[in-house]
């Protein structure tokens, strides 16, 4: 049990720290790489929950595809480095300006999580089957219960793809 808490703690810390670095990293490429690390440690948490399929998809789609897409987007744009302007304001002013927003957002999120924690029912005894989400189950659910959302999402992706092609085709003309 302690090993579980320990590994969860490490994974959570890595996730949070790398998420923080995504926002604060000066080089935009570093931000993309920190994001990959963050996604990877989230997939580790999925592995701890014995959801191998979700963990693999997390790595495949987020750490792999999304990060690479972002890297390509960075390479296509001209922004390389975020320059920090020398601050004219005092420390107190800065805290008030940026800190207030952070505190409000944080409080809202914390309230939401607490609400979810108290509202959701935690099973009293161990569930016989830990709800292992196999590929078969995911596929069956996608093609029965969630057919319409699945197809709508596909059309959305198709539209995005066509849009990207049109945008790049215009540039070459």
């Amino acid at each position: 049990m302690t090993a579980q808490y320990l590994s969860f703690g490490v994974l959570a810390l890595v996730t949070l720290w790398s998420a923080y670095k995504v926002v604060t990293a000066r080089l935009i490429t570093h931000a993309a790489l920190w994001m990959a690390l963050s996604f990877t440690s989230v997939s580790g948490i999925f592995l701890m929950l014995q959801q191998e399929f979700i963990a693999a998809l997390q790595v495949l789609i987020y750490a792999g595809a999304i990060t690479t897409m972002i890297i390509f987007a960075i390479m296509l744009s001209s922004i390389r480095e975020i320059r920090v302007e020398p601050q004219q304001q005092t420390f107190g002013q800065r805290i008030r300006a940026s800190g207030l927003l952070a505190v409000v957002v944080g409080l809202v999120f914390a309230a939401f999580m607490t609400y979810v924690y108290y509202v959701s029912e935690i099973p009293k005894e161990a569930v016989p089957d830990p709800g292992l989400l196999t590929v078969r189950q995911v596929g069956a659910t996608l093609f029965t219960r969630f057919t319409v959302p699945f197809e709508v999402a596909s059309i959305l992706l198709l539209l995005a793809m066509i849009g990207a092609i049109i945008l790049t085709a215009k540039e070459t003309e």
Partner: protein, 367 residues
């Protein structure tokens, strides 16, 4: 605490099996590197390394020792941390693939239910590692090579997964040990090489591109990019990139042997018709099954490694636009067609299997 108790502990078992995989990968890296030099020499009508050891067997050791002796140069303007960690990040996916490969009937490190998806997932770190190396080097050639490599790997990863889906459809499972068992039941002619021949060819081409091996080694094309993303690397960091390249090659060959050539399935001496059971009957049982399985697995893997090296030394390099056209306009539609064909044929066999119709033999291969 006895050894059996220790073996029951998860951490101990993970440590031992992980170390064995590492040793397997490194040992085969050595053999493959030697094989590449000898085979290229053979194709180019020369002898290759002959001086160090019999048939130049120690030449690889000498080369690696030379690389380790060299100064580990870190240029002044590189992105220091990224430059230093890149070879090690590149190391991760190459070794993780071996976790799901069944070396024998009971020789799997981690038999995940999602074997094939896991392989596809960990491969994505190879792209990130390439990018880290290219960006970290702070060199135009490195960055160009890395971006090319990233584009190439992403394009061919889609094709690779699509070509393997046919196998998963035939076996009804993504677990690699299940796929091997399904092939064992079908006999030699039932290896997925035959019903999935299109898939196998697509897999072979796509894995060459994924490995950045010639004729698709565009990210390190000497005539255009010096050495691509490892232009700035020297000494043991370069050696690690070399190691990764070959370990990756062995891993992809092992996967191909498992998916298409039946993995560890193969006849043993005890299967020889008349004299087999009498002479070699004692060579049966779980331990011997694993030994024979491992030998067959190695044989099939090296057969594929041989083909990959053969292709490298006989084909000229393609251009980047040809590469992209091949991937997106030819291989991807072909692999999609393969999925369609497999579905239709499997359905046809399911429908006609019970009937006496002679037409059913048309679908027999996809049973």
């Amino acid at each position: 605490m006895s050894l059996a108790d220790l073996w029951a502990q998860h951490w101990f078992r993970a440590f031992v099996t992980g170390s064995l995989v590492l040793v397997f990968a490194l040992g085969n890296f050595y053999i493959t590197l030697w094989l590449e030099r000898k085979e290229s020499a053979w194709i180019q009508n020369r002898l290759g390394p002959m001086r160090a050891g019999p048939q130049g067997l120690l030449q690889v050791l000498a080369d690696l020792f030379k690389l380790l002796q060299k100064e580990d140069i870190v240029p002044r303007n590189v992105d220091r941390i990224l430059f230093l960690i890149a070879p090690f990040v590149a190391h991760i996916p190459a070794l993780l693939i071996f976790l799901v490969v069944p070396f024998g009937p009971n020789l799997v490190v981690a038999d995940y239910d999602i074997g094939i998806i896991m392989i596809a997932a960990v491969t994505s770190y190879a792209v990130i590692a390439t990018f880290i190396a290219g960006w970290g080097s702070n060199n135009k050639y490195s960055l160009l090579g890395a971006m090319r490599g990233a584009a190439q790997m992403i394009s061919y990863e889609v094709t690779l997964v699509m070509s393997v889906i046919g196998v998963a459809m035939m076996a009804g499972s993504l677990k690699l040990s299940d796929i091997v068992l399904a092939q064992a039941e079908r006999g030699v002619l039932g290896w997925y090489l035959f019903p999935q021949f299109i898939g196998f060819i697509v897999y072979l081409i796509a894995s060459l591109a994924e490995l950045n091996r010639a004729p698709f080694d565009l990210m390190e094309a000497e005539s255009e990019l010096v050495a691509g993303y490892h232009t700035e690397y020297s000494g043991f960091r370069f050696a690690i990139f070399l190691l990764v390249e070959y370990v990756h090659m062995i891993a992809w060959s092992a996967i191909a042997a498992t998916l298409f050539l039946g993995g560890w399935v193969g006849p043993t001496p005890a299967d020889i018709p008349v004299i087999g059971p009498r002479l070699f009957g004692w060579m049966t049982g779980p331990v011997w099954d694993n030994i024979w399985g491992f030998c067959w697995f190695l044989f099939k893997t090296y057969l594929l490694i041989f083909i990959v090296i053969w292709i490298r030394w006989t084909f000229p390099r393609v251009r980047i636009d040809q590469l992209m056209d091949l991937g997106w306009k030819f291989l991807l539609p072909v692999s999609l067609f393969n999925i369609f064909l497999t579905g239709v044929m499997k359905y046809g066999w399911n429908v006609l299997a019970e009937s006496g119709s002679p037409l059913r033999w048309l679908f027999w291969l996809w049973r």
